[in-house]
Amino acid sequence: MKKMKLVLVGNGMAGIRTIEELLKLAPDMYDITVFGAEPHGNYNRILLSPVLAGEMTLPEIMLNDLDWYRDNGITLHAGKTVTAIDRIRRKVVAQGDDGEVIEADYDRLLLATGSTPFIPPIPGKDLQGVLGYRDIADTEAMIEAAGRYRHAVVIGAGLLGLEAANGLMLRGMDVTVVHIGEWIMERQLDRAAADMLQASLEARGMKFLLAKQTEALLARDTGDDGGDGGRRVSAVRFKDGMEIQADLVVVAAGIRPNFALAESAGLYCGSGRVRGIHVSDTLQTVTDPRIYAVGECVAHRGVAYGLVAPLFEQGKVCANHLANFGIGRYEGSVTSTKLKVTGIDVFSAGDFSGGGDTEEIVLHDRQGGVYKRLVIRDNRIVGSVLYGDTADGTWYFQLMKDGQDIHEIRDHLMFGQNHLGDTGHKGENRAASMPDTAEVCGCNGVCKGTIVKAIKEQGLFSLDEVKKHTKAASSCGSCTGLVEQILASTVGGAYQAVSAHDKAVCGCTDLSHGEVRKAIRDNRLLTIPDAMAFMGWKTPNGCATCRPALNYYLISTWPHEAQDDPQSRFINERAHANIQKDGTYSVVPRMLGGLTTPDELRRIADVADKYAVPTVKVTGGQRIDLLGVKREDLPLVWKDLGMASGHAYGKSIRTVKTCVGAEHCRFGTQRSMAMGVDLERMLFGMWSPHKVKLAVSGCPRNCAESGIKDVGVIGVDSGWELYVGGNGGIKTEVAQFLCKVATREEVMEYSAAFLQLYRDEGYYLERTVHYLHRVGLEYVKKRVVDDADNRKALYERLLFSVQDYKDPWAQRAEDSSAGVLRRQFETLEA
């Protein structure tokens, strides 16, 4: 089949990102031609400020060098400006600096023409030494001027203006920032934060003239034109008559979408306030569906974005449609801002103007240089401004994007995300203050410097990319927050935290866990192939991330009907034992409530001798672990043990830990051992989104550690208290009080109902604590405690799910030699 022709106009970040996404989805669908007005490959425009400041070099910020275009079979016309689009003959016409004219036909056209600096119509704007700040050429001109001249004036104290001013100052110039507004960065900061920022920049030597309107740029009167061959700027005059010296004027008064080409081709570009190439939610121009547009040149639902993060979201959706998948929709972005000036931390997001029906939480430590302001409406964060300590910016931003109800955490919201329980990085939770040599990921031994280097050199923008390239945060995940902070501070505004709610399950699909669960429930999907076909999976049979998730969703949604697929389970659940580093396994027999007998202990001892088990250990969950059992020996070990599987390997019920309780203990108020045995027996065979651990203590001394379990039961004289969502692992989380009940039967019913709710709604690999954070304790109480009918229904559903569950060890031990259940443990010969 003849390939279709795709032409991209604009060789910048938005356009090339779209092409990269497209190549991932449909590498062979198009012959691709790219036109770029600049004579380079694609580079990371947001890192021009560090280049100007002398902190990075141009080669370091290249994202796609010329080899990349060649390797992907893309024709690149760099340094060629497209001058016309002929929509009838479907071709574009471009002209090079040398006057050469090139034409290219298209079946699909992608416009990513970006934006241009807005230069107000003031007299003198065309003088030598007056620049916008947009591209490599501007940056080089500024660096060059800094080497020859002394006085720089930056007009506009927005994000870009301050970064330019900072860079010029670091290059030795005397810099004055002129701003028309009452305070700097008024679109991103409130007055208090802006004043602190200004004071800190002033301390570094930057000068400010606020509430000043520029009247004219004046030329030099002397014959010395600085070798520029024309008249060069020498001063700036303001409306109030004041004049200041200026050898270089950088105009950073905002940007305008670059839509002249599109408009001349008859594409609707709006009128009045919102100008830009108007596109639909599929990023197609509203005028011509063959033509797509992404990036800063676009107006979508009345918004033109000037930050990088939304462009990436647009690129993803656009690529999806170019690849004929047709399932993505771009519905607009919520953006955040971060200033890239080394040593100064500023963050803002959302609507922080306040007033009206909003509330505010403010922390202001003028001497300490910290300012935090959160704007809240209806218990949800709608805006935030942070100065000095921005470590929690990404967290607030996430809460805002997710629209999460914050009333439960309101009292400690201001103090940031509580990382105090995190293990593995010395309690460190402020990435900015860590030296490059500090270990961030304690599992894989990755230092901060390694992560920063990978982000810069490989051009990484997302957490997933950093995980893949550096392995940081890819094991236990406890350092995810730190890695996100490093990413945010390295790439600035280009970083966009992915909302956990709508994050795709994996690269095989764009659907989130919630959407996949819903599709399986609503459409009665019963097998993995059916589910993948129905939801349009992008890979033939998924991957090691999505298959186990799908398998769990199927069997938990349709118990006894959906097919359990062993090949889609992680090895531990396939082998019914825990794989160890050397490929041997560990065997943990079931001991209900942590109780055993002399007879069982004798059999365990005999098995350990007979199979030369190297290590026998008591586990944290009150069980006995036989470590180092060979794969071939597993069925024999199980047969000789004659005990049921302890499921120490599964995303399933693990253990119910108990204290001695009223059976023996002189303080005991309730019979905790019996209660634990009953609970564990009820839950035998329960698969869940993640592992589930319970504990029962017989009195408030809580010797079974019920406070850090998924379900913790504590006996008191008048009954039982139930706690949920505790966790003693990566991050210590104290369980929350759910309710108090009187009888043993109620303990069973309430515990089962809570776990069934979690089984029905939890995302795969989401522990109960994270599920609770997502849905809120109030919601769980409503469904489990307040609604008796629903509680009974959940309870029944759990009992139905585990009904007739066969012990997997007994099944495999009894399977005839070379039977289907047994064969995986046997080795063939060659």
Binding site: T539, P540, N541, T827, L828, E829, A830
Partner: protein
């Protein structure tokens, strides 16, 4: 895969009338019958002990078979116990992905597990060792 007419006939003769795991045996040119295809689960693997150490034989959803050394280049994990998807396997220990045909790790990871020649003749999996 290199295969001559003679070889083909020899294989057919060796397996004729006696399919199943019990009938495996040595044939010409170093090809050895290992097991019937059905002995490997779809999207699964089996381990074969050989003079080169353990070899993992994989079966894809399209009944293609591949063989690579049962040792992940990362930390030696048994690849045969991983999850098979497309023409790749994910190592059970730390999640490295390896290509079944070449044994090469999928980028950005770098490394290789030795591939072995394997073929399917009349429903029997044969390995060249």
């Amino acid at each position: 895969m290199e295969m001559t007419m003679d070889n083909n006939r020899a294989v057919a003769a060796a397996t004729e009338g006696a399919p199943g795991e019990g009938s495996v045996g040595e044939v010409l040119d170093g090809w050895k019958a290992v097991c019937p295809l059905e002995a490997i689960p779809v999207l699964g693997a089996r381990v074969v002990a050989s003079r080169h150490g353990d070899i993992a034989i994989f079966r894809t959803v399209d009944d293609e078979v591949f063989a690579i050394h049962d040792k992940c280049p990362h930390k030696g994990g048994p690849l045969s116990q991983g999850i098979v998807h497309g023409r790749e396997v994910t190592c059970p220990l730390h999640g490295w992905k390896l290509q079944l045909d070449s044994g090469e790790a999928v980028a950005p990871d770098v490394g290789c597990s030795r591939p072995f020649a394997v073929r399917l003749v009349d429903g029997v999996v044969e390995l060249k060792v």
